[in-house]
């Protein structure tokens, strides 16, 4: 790993840590969106009283930014968990199993993989009560095939390794060999990369839908997406109310993607 990659790893790691910290703190911050409105303070530039300034309704942007992490944090974690747990298990199973079962599961995964993700998520939102949790749940399911495929390839390539043969000959439990020796010890870098990606994807979809309005987080509850949406009515000399959340979105998504990739690379180098 080069110097540049190592720097990227620590920087992106910092972003990930910061987002996780904010996500944990946010629910503890008392915030009543209606009470925060104060038209006298509308569009104040960043200052000591309001670190990131205020928006058109005089609400403090820093607090809304922190509170906005609530919109995607838990849903993102849930989606990542769903995709790596279920994807990891189906991947390990299809890498090990043979016969009709394997064919059937692979077929189902392929079918799931052909669904256009964003369109399918919006479709589900139109037929059920839209919520970020629902979006995240569907996103988690939709990423199962991606995770399962990389894990299956890994399991298949490891199956012919001498030490796996030796474990079988010693009579080590096949379930343990599969789950512990292969899935856990060998595949964790892959799982980290996928989890970070899915988390980033949920943030992307949540902010996108909140920006567009109908299916995302509704005003006055803050989301980075509906904060950016203010761009439509803001005067051009007051860019901070949308610029700051937009920067947060870009930084967080790229931070998570970079961290996933670089952490996995470090892991894979250590594994070898």
């Amino acid at each position: 790993m080069g110097k540049f990659a190592r720097l990227g790893f620590w920087l992106s790691g910092l972003i990930v840590l910061a987002v996780i910290a904010l996500g944990c703190i946010a629910p503890l911050v008392p915030y009543e969106p209606a009470d925060a409105v104060s038209y006298d303070d509308a569009l104040v530039s960043p200052s000591l009283a309001h670190l990131m300034g205020t928006d058109e309704q005089g609400r403090d942007i820093a607090i809304r930014l922190v509170k906005g992490t609530e919109a995607f944090f838990l849903p993102g974690l849930m989606a990542a968990a769903i995709s790596i747990v279920l994807g990891g298990l189906t991947g390990a199973l299809t890498g090990y199993a043979t016969g009709f079962f394997r064919t059937a599961v692979l077929g189902a995964l392929q079918l799931l993989d052909t669904l256009p993700r964003l369109v399918f998520i919006i479709l589900v939102c139109t037929i059920r009560d839209p919520s970020v949790m629902l979006i995240a749940f569907v996103a988690g399911i939709l990423f199962i095939p991606t995770v399962a495929t990389v894990i299956r390839r890994k399991v298949e390539s490891l199956a012919s390794e001498d030490y796996i043969l030796a474990h079988i000959a010693h009579g080590f439990s096949p379930v343990r060999v599969l789950l512990h020796h292969i899935l856990w010890l060998q595949c964790w870098p892959i799982l980290v990369r996928q989890a970070a990606f899915v988390f980033g994807y949920v943030l992307f979809v949540e902010t996108g839908l909140s920006y567009l309005g109908d299916y995302g987080v509704q005003e006055p509850t803050p989301s980075w997406g509906n904060m950016v949406a203010q761009v439509r009515s803001l005067p051009s000399d007051a860019p901070w109310p949308w610029l700051i959340p937009a920067a947060a979105i870009v930084l967080t998504i790229s931070g998570f993607l970079a961290f996933g990739n670089l952490a996995a690379r470090r892991g894979e180098e250590a594994v070898r």
Binding site: G99, H170, G171, F172, P174
Partner: protein, 297 residues
Amino acid sequence: MSEPMLTVRDLVIEFDTQAGRRRVVDGVSFSVQPGEVLGILGESGSGKTLSTLAVLGLIPGRPGVVSGEIELTLDGVRHKLLETLPAVVTRSAQGEYRKDDRRWGRMVNRQMRPLWGRAMTAVFQNPKQSLDPLMTIGAQLDESVRLAHPELARPDVRARSLDWLSRVKLHNPPRVHASYAHELSGGMCQRAMIAIALAREPRLLVADEPTTGLDTTVRQEIVELFHELLAAERRAMMYISHDIREVLFLAREVIVMRAGKIVEVATADDLRTGTGVRHPYTRTLLQAADLPVGEAA
């Protein structure tokens, strides 16, 4: 002589290659007596490794084992390992074999699972690749001890593991216990591998060219270790090697394989002293090792 613990009869193994189907093991029969070491001698590609992997049930389909019988007797119970084979092999009018790979794989797994480890296990060549690169030696050894003695508590498992490490003459057992395979030398890995295999307490140990790729001095130490832990304790073992001296040192009975067939069955004593009539290939091997070659056939 008592009843053999392992009997292999007319084992035939074939594989499909680009040049068509090739018979790599051709009607091999042998047996292992309880507490005896059987030496299997032969060059690379003679089918010696495949014959023993077949005994362990570790040969995948396509077509792999196509006929034969393997019988394992444990505590008076007879296990017929290839009993289900005829059910998955069909023969066409032209005498061509077809084998249902998947059914075969399932049947082998079901039948072998209770036998793997408890009845027999193996020490392979390439000790470094035979150890899990991501688990400490200790973690793997502990697993082996735990499987052999599920009743033991955690500290006792560790104590027994450390004891095994010192029995295979590894210095500083606690350090080795906490090491990964890549931190140890090839010889140390093979000692650890032997400890893991023996800690499982198998009735029959299959050692498949365990000294290949090791330094000459280390090879000798490993062979002596096998002698001490198996031959001397009268545990049954199949010792596969292409080195006639190793085989003669360890085994009581020796079979010599070439091109998928057994060309010679003899006692180690006869081979050492040059008694009896010898196959030309065996004579070449004996000659190469500066041993009396015996009479020509």
